[in-house]
Amino acid sequence: MFFKRQQSETPAKAAADGTPPKVSKADRPASLPISELRRTVDPATLGFASTAELEPISGLIGQDRALKAIQFGTNIKAHDFNLFVLGPPASGKRTAVKQYLDLKAREAAPPADWVYVNNFENPNQPRAIKLPPGRARPLAKSMIAAIDELRNTLPAVFEGEEYQTRRRAIDEEFRSGQEEAFEALNQHAQKQNIAILRTPTGFAMAPMHEGKIVKPEVFNTLPEAMRKDVEARIEGLQKELEQILEQVPKTEKARRLRTSDLNAEVASQAVEAALDDIKSEFAGEEAVLAYLVATAKDLVRNVGLFLAPSGEESEIVKQPADTARDARFRRYMVNVIVANGDSPEGCGAPIYEELNPTYGNVIGRVEHIAQMGALVTDFLLIKPGALHKANGGYLLVDARKLLLSPFAWEALKRAIKSREIRIEQPSEMSGLISTQSLDPEPIPLDVKVVLIGDRTLYYLLSQADPDFDGLFKVQADFDDTIARSSDNDMAYARLITSIVRDHGLKPADAGAVARLIDEGARLADDREKLSIEIGRIADIVREADFWAGEAGHAQIQREDVIRAVEEHIQRSDRVRDRTQETINREIVLLDVKGAKAGQINGLSVLQIGSFSFGKPSRITATVRMGAGRVTDIEREVELGGPFHTKGVLILWSYLASVFAQDVPLALAATLVFEQSYGGVDGDSASSTELYALLSALSGVPIRQSLAVTGSVNQWGEVQAIGGVNQKIEGFYDVCVARGLTGDQGVLIPRSNVQHLMLRDDVVEAVKEGKFAIYPVGTIDEGLEILTGVKAGERDADGNFPAGTINRLVDDRLHDFAEKARAFGMKPNGAGDMAKDKR
């Protein structure tokens, strides 16, 4: 015989011998005491009447690790030791970093100013000039002043008597030579009775008689010899004219050269005088002096710019356009990229936070203006980016926004690596648009970049971007919670005081503070911890302030905090209401009384935005003889996540290891979350599913007045889950709606007791004996509470006591194995999932 039954009694027989071994009332575990359901702060123990008596806390509480990291990261002088500040949203990361950097930056010397100026030799490559802090704007102003001066002096000099006389002399010298030659030719021609006439495109010569051109018909009547003579004279004169005309371009060129020399000489004096002040003002700045030399040369070369009318003169005020706006003089302006002397503080390293870290906003950009349908640009259209503004100091950027901006992340890394800011247009890199652009001289970069983001992002970058770890070597990891202690309660009170002061709110009395500390623990989902999500806590305080105002309270009181929390929930719980309604109207089937085999109430948590709530669900299990596999319907239809599947496999392993160890597991079981149409993940229902399966196998009904949560391991130990408070409250709400019987309650993992921070109404119901919370450590404990029947332990012979649930399960599995043998089936010993069989 392949299968051998080791236990003689069958379930039916055991039942005939007597009733199943019930768990006596005395043995039944009691509900948790009230003190375990919620940890509250007694306002009297806080030692103050209101936050008006407290000093606000400076900085953060409980973030020592992160703060040390920030300190280290900002102190270390290395271009690749940049910071990634990670932590949950609204945990005060940004504020903490900024507060620390503010202090540190104040002690530092202000970094250099930077300007872009025209490169007169190659305008497409503007030059960057470094200046001592606070000197950029004076240089820009001085250049405008110098050009302003030249706008007045140059026309005056060129209009002046001296220049005009010299100019006339040159003109006269060349003109008279040429004109005299022409005049001489003219007179010579006239003497020979030849007229020189101007045609539309040149000159022509004609015989003349008494000052008039000889008509052709007259000329043709002249004797042949005379005609030949005239022709010969004209031929000779034409040659002379040609010689004179051929000299015209050469003479003109020589005249231009002489005039240019004169212009340069006259302009140089005015230009040097105009630039002298700047030279002495920036005497020690070699780069500025070199620029001024180049500027002077260009000014002399382009002196015509100052002599031509601008055409922008106002008709009303008759005043020349502002030099800085005059297109003719753009080439001499100074584009101030960084001016560190401008801040009211006037000193310290810059701290710049880029709120919109697009490529252009981070690296800087070259803008264009449309002119006659074409896009043109020059060095004045170079706009600084966040790196320019933060250069020599600290740059704060939201990592998510940065990564969502095309090209921005790569550009930032490139700048950090190369230690210079090189402005390139993204369109150039992609080669999409070809238009006139600039290649500005790169500016050396010395900046500490602080990226702020959540943990997921940090780990993703660390894993996926090979450059990331090399460039962001310091992680400042902000914790979500702090341990609860009287000291930390007090620190929390001071934190609330800071929020009150920062937002100009009413002071909070001790009752309100105590309640806020309670809410902090509830937000932490752990009564031994306090949430330090500053943003959320600040929201509650601010809302409580509003409700205090509505209620006419001078201070924020406990009930204002409660009202704020309730109102917040009410604004967010439409989905929870609808879910509860469908259960109350029995659209979603759920029993809260009676008992049924193979059916149990499971609990899940739904997160809708910032609001989460518990939702009870019916879980059912069916069993039959089979090939040793469990069908997880959630997974079959691809609604179950990997953790849920893992939980199902673990419970199957438990089943296989605890029961029917001497026979193959000839069981086919099916598990399902009834009326669940969304995805299910997490293993918090694995113990629940196991209870349902054991009930289905044993045929012992489960109390429907109870709901269960908890994961299970292969040894049948019930393990902690998340969202325990919401889950309990979710089932409680259904029970209240259906009517509390006093028999209802929730089984939770014992290790979750420390996380309990239940609502006041739930605590009150437990206190009145209308509801119960049962902590369980093992599946056997849970089974006894759920069924009222002993679970049973193997005796020395390895048998479960008759009538116990485990014995009933064991017998059933042996029975399946026997039947399977009779059918000649070959059971699969492992807990194969149905899906694996496909």
Binding site: E159, E183, T199, A204, P207, E231, Q238, E315
Partner: protein, 288 residues
């Protein structure tokens, strides 16, 4: 003497813009339009096909030498006529466009004649009120044209000329007065020019033989000018320099128009304008 068309008792006056085979100065064209607008008159764009050139082109040995002296081409009357017609039509198009923009009525005429007699004929045909504007910049080479025009065109009120360095159309209007009788009509004309373009005021330069006469002229000018006339009076006499130096001084005032008397101290009759045209940066309106 300058008078308004209405004062001359005519229905309308005109500006005869004389165009020849040479490229016109844009400043001269603009000046012609400005005068026409100021006096609410029309422009007669008169292109003169120089008969002498056509006669010359008929001669078998006639050659045209390019302006650079690099080419010498055979001439024919047909080619010359064609060349002049093309130039005339191009110039007319250009001037018509400018006149349309300035909202000045325009009439285009092409005549085959000698330039001076063509202008004289055009003026005589249209009545006593004419202003002749010479489109070609006046240089020493064609300065004789001015003398001939003043001699031959009896009906012209004045002649507008520009020099080869003409470049300015904005600025004050300068009136160079040498006789008291000219003062009022010249200032009136200047006022019209200023009013038309929203110009920058009028400067009346009073030129007399000596300082005492200049002072006397100023006193009389103050009596003659209606009260409230916005004119700045400046006295000048030969003591301030030769005509060339005075013209140089006027240049520095950045005028948009200069009105002067032909045949006086500043612009002597029978002068070849050698002293004037090289420094003239704005149009010069010469009146008898």
């Amino acid at each position: 003497m300058i008078a308004h068309v209405a004062e001359a008792g005519e229905q309308k006056g005109r500006v005869v813009l004389q165009l020849s085979g040479c490229a016109p100065s844009p400043i001269a064209l603009e000046a012609a339009l400005r005068v026409a607008r100021a006096f609410q008159s029309e422009i007669e764009s008169l292109f003169v096909e120089d008969q002498q050139l056509l006669d010359l082109a008929s001669l078998p040995f006639a050659r045209e030498i390019s302006r650079t002296g690099g080419k010498r081409l055979a001439m024919s009357p047909e080619a010359m006529a064609r060349q002049m017609r093309a130039l005339a039509s191009s110039l007319h198009r250009q001037i018509s466009r400018m006149a349309r923009d300035a909202e000045v009525p325009i009439r285009a005429t092409v005549v085959r004649d000698e330039p001076v007699s063509a202008v004289a004929r055009a003026c005589a045909a249209c009545g006593p009120w004419n202003v002749v504007a010479i489109a070609e910049p006046l240089t020493r080479a064609n300065a004789a044209l001015l003398q001939q025009l003043f001699g031959a065109v009896a009906d012209a009120t004045g002649i507008v000329i520009v020099g080869p360095k003409a470049k300015r159309t904005k600025g004050p209007v300068i009136v160079a007065v040498e006789e008291l009788s000219h003062l009022e009509p010249m200032v009136r004309a200047a006022q019209r020019l200023v009013a038309e373009d929203g110009g920058e005021g009028i400067l009346a330069i009073l030129i007399a033989e000596n300082d005492a006469e200049a002072q006397q002229l100023e006193g009389q000018a103050r009596l003659v000018l209606p009260p409230g006339t916005a004119v700045t009076l400046v006295r000048l006499s030969p003591r301030h320099g030769s005509p060339v130096e005075i013209v140089e001084g006027l240049r520095r005032m950045h005028a948009s128009f200069i009105l002067a008397q032909y045949g006086g101290f500043l612009v002597p009759a029978n002068s070849d304008l050698e002293h004037l045209t090289p420094v003239l940066e704005c149009p010069l309106f010469l009146v008898r």
